[in-house]
């Protein structure tokens, strides 16, 4: 057997192996760090909790809150503000949608067209929706309260 020929084949094999390892590591790292960090799920859940704290107290729906609150008074009532000038591409457009429903009473705030994005959580470059339901007391009766929170901010989270 020609040992020299065997050594050359051995070297080629090792270079090929190192090349494959390098390609795998570089590809994996580039794939990992190129994926944008999306904080909208956490942000939407925090907003959901803030809205619940605003409408519900000690397990009871605040008296008349769903009937009396309006889009104009919502921010002041719940100590929230929704103006966003962080990205020029937003052009001052509202980046939030909130819906609170209890029986026949419904309160909506923000960009209502964003409600259609609920149920499409598998897609990342679209507004992000968080849905929740909770049972609270209203006038001595248990009622189901549904809450939807949708956050757009796609440019800052998914692109």
């Amino acid at each position: 057997m020609n040992k020299r020929g065997g050594e050359k084949v051995f070297s080629i094999y090792w270079f090929l192996m190192f090349g494959i390892v390098a390609i795998v590591v570089v590809s994996g790292v580039l794939l990992f760090f190129s994926k944008p960090v999306d904080v909208r799920d956490v942000e939407a859940k925090i907003l959901r909790d803030r809205v619940i704290d605003c409408f519900v107290e000690k397990g009871m729906l605040k008296e008349g809150v769903l009937s009396s609150v309006s889009e104009e008074s919502f921010g002041e009532l719940c100590n929230l503000r929704f103006d966003d000038s962080s990205d020029p591409s937003y052009g001052g457009e509202m980046q939030y949608y909130i819906m609170v429903e209890s029986g026949e009473k419904t309160f909506e705030f923000g960009r209502k067209d964003m409600s259609e994005w609920c149920g499409q959580e598998k897609r990342t470059n679209v507004p992000h929706c968080v849905r929740d339901k909770l049972v609270v007391l209203d006038d001595g009766d248990f009622v189901l309260v549904s809450i939807d929170v949708v956050i757009d901010k796609v440019e800052q989270n998914a692109k």
Binding site: V25, V29, V37, V42, I46, N79, L80, S85, S86, Q156
Partner: protein, 125 residues
């Protein structure tokens, strides 16, 4: 025989140097990718904004900025809060801001504690 031993030693040394250099290059590449300034700016701005969003009146937040401020290149106030925006700008060519929805007054300062720089925020009604 001596020549054969020397050849084996030489090939082993060359191979070892090659492997070490290969690992070092990969390590440097991964480290550089991990300390990318733009992702640091984004993570910091969004992280601070979310902390403010979840804070109740009377909350005091201490955010460790040492790693972030080490990357800033001669920028005045690289991390600041203006109106409802958290702005992180570590160089003249980069920057990221993220809005928070908590409509409370935020007082903040950057202070050094135990040789580490922190952003100390007070959330007031």
């Amino acid at each position: 025989m001596g020549n054969k031993k020397a050849r084996i030693l030489m090939s082993t040394v060359i191979y070892s140097v090659f492997v070490i250099a290969f690992i070092a290059i990969l390590f440097i590449f991964v480290s550089r990718m991990g300390s990318d300034v733009s992702s640091l700016e984004k993570n910091t701005a969004a992280g601070i904004a979310l902390m403010i969003d979840s804070a109740e009146p009377g909350t005091r937040i201490m955010y460790n900025l040492e790693d972030v401020l080490e990357e800033s290149k001669d920028v005045e106030n690289p991390v600041r809060i203006e109106d409802n925006l958290v702005i992180v700008k570590l160089s003249d060519k980069s920057g990221f801001s993220y809005a928070f929805f908590n409509d409370l007054e935020i007082k903040y300062e950057i202070r050094e504690i135990d040789e580490m720089r922190y952003m100390i925020m007070e959330v007031r009604e």
